[in-house]
């Protein structure tokens, strides 16, 4: 069995505890307007133009985005950084795209990593069938769980899907006693209004249980926009500015009132 991966990052230090190797899996059921990994949305291999420079000379070449790997190949790659993982209390993370859209491969890989005693994290939108969640739960140590908007209509408008399945899955995972870090992308004008922020906090207050170890506030950033051009995708975020650090700190203090540790950035 093979899985489609579009990027592998070593010295990943924002995707769970310690130093990690993160596998970015291709394909996502959502299409968030602000997505900074648009190459993860399509579930097929893509070919794009890449421009490299030597001095002022430009060279445009074709680049293939997406490559199939077996679980053991991923294990071999992660093992290259084993010394760092062990020293830092790190592990491996499946991100994307949405890792849960390749459930069989994901399950097989998680088993392979757990068998080696490595800490596993899944960075997910939470949009998946319950049976997929059930299958991976025993092999997942930590969920980085995105909550993007509390209003189902707006959620559908900005991501393409409603949030009801997502919120149900969130409650389900918490109910199973799994460790969760909640990740909220802070997108000016889309989900950062007073009421929207309050809705996030009310939900967290009601549903956190004892298993939410942290809330990560991820400030919207524009890194993605040039990628959209390369992937010939429509970028809907023109004119949206990155939130100021004052604003982020203000939000941090607000969420800290829930009694949960809050971090700006992952």
């Amino acid at each position: 069995m093979k899985g489609l991966i579009f990027n592998i990052k070593r010295y990943a230090i924002h995707d769970g505890p310690g130093i990690r190797v993160t596998f970015f899996m291709k394909g996502c059921p959502l299409a968030c307007w602000w997505c900074h990994n648009p190459e993860g949305i399509s579930s097929g291999i893509q070919e794009i133009d890449r421009t490299d420079r030597i001095g002022s000379k430009e060279f445009t070449v074709k680049e293939t985005v997406g490559k199939y790997y077996s679980s053991n190949e991923l294990l071999d790659i992660a093992k290259k950084d084993l010394v760092f993982i062990e020293e830092s209390g790190g592990g491996i993370t499946f991100s994307g795209g949405e890792p849960l859209v390749q459930p069989d491969f994901l399950l097989e890989s998680l088993k392979v990593f757990r068998n080696e005693g490595l800490h596993t994290t899944i960075d997910t939108s939470g949009f998946a069938d319950r049976e997929v969640i059930d299958s991976i739960l025993p092999y997942t140590e930590l969920f980085l769980f995105d909550i993007k908007h509390m209003d189902p209509g707006k959620h559908k408008h900005y991501t393409g899907v409603s949030n009801s399945l997502i919120l149900d899955n969130y409650k389900y995972i918490i109910g199973k006693g799994k460790k969760v870090v909640i990740r909220i992308p802070v997108i000016p004008g889309i989900n950062d209004g007073e009421e929207e922020i309050r809705a996030f906090r009310d939900f967290i207050d009601a549903e956190a249980g004892g298993n939410v170890s942290r809330i990560d506030l991820l400030a919207y950033h524009k890194i993605g926009s040039s990628k959209y051009k390369r992937f010939k995708l429509d970028y809907k975020m023109q004119g949206v500015e990155q939130p100021s650090s004052e604003r982020m700190n203000e939000l941090k203090r607000y969420f800290e009132e829930s009694g949960i540790n809050v971090k700006i950035g992952g």
Binding site: R10, I13, I19, F59, V83
Partner: protein, 789 residues
């Protein structure tokens, strides 16, 4: 802790002082050599009396407000010359005066003295003249082509560090030892008895000389005390005079005495000759801690006073720029830094964690002083606490390039492998840039940088240097005739062996020239067991003796070999003719090919075994060619991997290379990847760098540039700490972090006046960005910044 007003002022005065040449030492040494008695003395005695003559006649300089006294020249940054080693011509002095970087002001008066007195006496007689006359045509050809450099051409061997003994003994104690050693001489069975007697007498003269010099400082301090109305300063001056009458004659017993004691010793070493790396206090936290505790407990000292004394001590180093270098020596080590490297942390002699209160106080001094000299490093053992590393990161993250991080556990293994006792190994550390040494017991000379990439270039041209067309290596065949990669590597190995033996042969001759003409009786007092053996530091008198050759350009040569194997032999993408044509044209008209070489060939620094395997092959071939060769003083040749600034010079003598590098661009530095080719982040770089066997070296240098974001919170501290500890688990010797963003550097290049305080990590040391040549500035900007992820 904050710096006191006094220390702030001393620091500012040091920063404001201009580097200039003082002819004082040159005049004194010339006058002494011309005098009657000089002709009647044995060489060691001649050197000892010359030393005494300088110390007796040099101006005593006591700066306002300072607490530690003694200047090498007549004023801060007044830099002496050493005509017995290298006599500067008027043209040299003009260059020093006017060159853009690392310049020294030279007054007309100094030029006149040189013209009238110094040059006429020393021309043709300096050690440099002797060295150059003695070298073979093969050596000279290789030296001119930039295959290697020669450390002992303008400076003396030294590269050593003070150990426990001298912090706990005075020179009166040493005189007793000398006396015993003289009485033990066996004129019946020891053919060297007479030589030893002369050497020991010379050491005795050197003891008296340094005591006399301290007394002269005491006299001046008392004179100043009687002339001042300021009662507080008067008290200080009287106390300082008391200290100068006690140390270095006697063992220091207080914190203040110990700092002054070391400083007189330092001055003695850099007055006798101009050894590389000036001199080095070594494990300063270990030496100071017991006296610090004692003083505090007795109520003789407060922490604030200790801190102020340390600030005053720090400034003394900064007042002493490296002696003026010219020609190739200036290119290989183009800096005012004189490489006194303070070691902190590590292990105690019994093998336990050595980090103490003084370690943290000294880290604080480094942070607050923020000056170029002295350099500083932390010795990190797996027994040291994380807090120690975190305190070092507090300073590193400010972008000051200090302290650098060393692996104590690896250093100890390196020393043990070389045959040191476990105790001497634990008392060791690193000096200069990254060089391993047993402090207080070893004479370890660096002899020159060795241009690995140039040797491969020469191999590709069948023994010819393409820059001149001259055949300077072996005729190992045209590249087109190499059937496979192994053939090429065999040819390269033969060239490597040839140039290594040329260098080693030269080393062995130069070493004798130093032993015969320039013994160092004062330095010999400091390093065990010269007194017991009755032999000079430069003649093998120390307990351990090592000579190093420093390999340069590992990343570049690895990429060259990987590209050749990949493109010509494995993938057969290009023929030798195509590749060599492109290289000969510096890729003009071959841009697509150059692009392919840069972007699609395997590169060192990405944890790719295909590429990294070649680094190991080159490393092992270099090791085999050098390691184990004996020298006349009984030392063993060994290798280390560090460049100072020679990777820029060595790049400037090499045309375009098969890895896509343009002609005359700098090589990779230390064991770091070539600038910009490491694409997978720091763990991959560390994995690549740890594939060579560090324990077979006497030091390697890995430089990682980080943007400040990597140090922003506790979590990132923990991750950087894990990164360091992981590298050290893999036996990595040293890692340093350049924390700065490229935009800042570009702006500094445009507006140098706004960045006079900007210090960056170069390679094994930090330097003012403004003092770096433009090419080196550009290279530092280009080095891959692992930007915020």
């Amino acid at each position: 802790m904050k710096l006191t007003e006094r220390v702030k002022q001393l620091r500012q005065n040091s920063l404001d002082a201009t580097e200039h040449i003082s002819s004082e030492r040159a005049e004194l040494v010339t006058r002494f050599y011309k005098s009657g008695p000089a002709g009647e003395l044995s060489v060691p005695m001649l050197r000892a009396y010359a030393f005494e003559y300088i110390l007796k006649n040099k101006k005593i300089c006591i700066n306002e407000g300072e607490l530690i006294v003694g200047e090498r020249g007549p004023a801060p940054k007044a830099t002496p010359t050493y005509p017995e080693i290298n006599v500067h011509s008027i043209e040299d002095l003009e260059i020093l005066d006017t060159r853009e970087k690392v310049s020294f002001k030279v007054s007309d008066r100094v030029k006149e003295i040189y013209r009238e007195e110094v040059i006429p006496y020393w021309k043709g007689k300096s050690n440099r003249d002797k060295v150059m006359k003695a070298m073979t045509p093969a050596w000279k050809k290789a030296y001119k082509a930039g295959v290697f450099t020669e450390f002992q051409e303008q400076r003396a061997p030294g590269h050593t560090v003070l150990g426990y003994k001298l912090y706990n003994n005075g020179f009166l104690d040493l005189k007793k030892e000398i006396d015993e050693s003289i009485r033990g001489l066996d004129y019946f069975n020891d053919p060297l008895a007479y030589d030893k007697h002369e050497e020991l007498k010379a050491m005795d003269v050197a003891c008296d000389a340094i005591i006399m010099y301290a007394e002269r400082n005491a006299d001046e301090l008392e004179r100043l005390a009687s002339g001042t109305e300021d009662q507080k300063r008067k008290g200080e001056l009287i106390e300082m005079a008391r200290i100068c009458r006690k140390v270095p004659a006697n063992a220091p017993e207080t914190f203040h005495e110990m700092l002054q004691h070391y400083w007189f010793i330092h001055l003695g070493v850099v007055t006798e000759l101009n050894p590389w790396d000036s001199f080095n206090p070594g494990r300063l936290d270990q030496h100071l801690y017991p006296v610090f505790r004692k003083d505090i407990e007795k109520g003789n000292l407060t922490e604030e006073e200790a801190y102020e004394l340390l600030g005053s001590f720090w400034v003394k180093f900064n007042n002493h720029p490296s002696p003026p270098k010219i020609g190739v020596t200036a290119q290989e080590s183009n800096t005012f830094t004189d490489f006194a490297l303070i070691n902190l942390g590590g292990l105690k002699p019994d093998g336990t964690d050595a980090v103490n209160e003084m370690t943290y106080m000294l880290l604080d001094v480094i942070k607050e002083m923020r000056i170029l000299q002295p350099s500083s490093m932390v010795q990190i053992s797996n027994k040291n606490p994380d807090r120690f590393i975190h305190k070092a990161l507090d300073i590193i993250k400010t972008g000051f390039g200090q302290p650098s991080c060393f692996n104590t556990d690896a250093i100890i293994q390196e020393l043990l492998r070389q045959g040191k006792s476990i105790l001497d190994a634990r008392n060791g550390g690193a000096s200069g840039c990254v060089e391993t040494g047993a402090f207080g017991t070893e004479s370890y000379w660096l002899t020159g940088y060795f241009n690995l990439a140039k040797i491969l270039e020469i191999t590709l041209y069948n023994g010819k240097d393409p820059r001149t067309g001259e055949t300077i290596g072996l005729r190992t065949g045209e590249p087109g005739d190499f059937e496979d990669f192994e053939d090429l590597f065999t040819a390269f190995s033969s060239q490597l062996e040839y140039f290594a033996s040329t260098k080693i042969r030269g080393n062995n001759v130069i070493e004798r020239i130093f032993s015969k003409n320039l013994p160092v009786p004062f330095l010999s007092l400091l390093i065990e067991d010269c007194i017991a053996n009755g032999q000079d530091y430069n003649e093998g008198g120390t307990r351990y003796n090592t000579s190093y050759i420093q390999g340069v350009g590992l990343g570049t040569i690895t990429d060259m070999l990987s590209s050749i194997r990949h493109n010509i032999y494995d993938e057969k993408k290009y023929s030798w003719k195509q590749l060599m044509d492109a290289v000969k044209h510096d890729f003009e008209g071959f841009e697509e090919l150059q692009y392919d070489l840069i972007y699609n060939s395997p590169k060192y620094g990405n944890d790719d075994d295909y590429a990294d395997h070649h680094a190991v092959m080159v490393f092992e071939a270099f090791y085999d060619a050098v390691n184990g060769h004996r020298t006349p003083r009984g030392a063993v040749h060994r290798i280390n991997m560090l460049p100072t600034t020679s990777h820029v010079y060595f790049g400037s003598v090499i045309g375009a290379t098969p890895d896509g590098r343009k002609a005359f661009m700098p090589l990779s530095e230390g064991i770091s990847p070539f600038q910009g080719v490491d694409r997978l982040g720091p763990t991959a770089v560390i994995k690549s760098a740890s594939k060579i066997d560090h324990l077979k070296t006497g030091g390697t240098l890995l430089n990682q540039k980080f943007s400040p974001q990597f140090f922003e919170d506790e979590e990132s501290y923990a991750q950087i700490t894990a990164l360091i500890r992981s590298y050290f688990k893999l036996d990595g010797h040293h890692i340093q972090f350049n924390v700065v963003n490229a935009d800042t550097l570009r702006d500094a290049q445009k507006n140098p006046e706004l960045y006079r305080d900007l210090i960056v990590r170069v390679a094994g040391y930090s330097d003012y960005f403004n003092d770096l040549g433009e090419d080196l500035q550009n290279e530092i900007i280009r080095r891959t910044a692992h930007e915020s992820m």
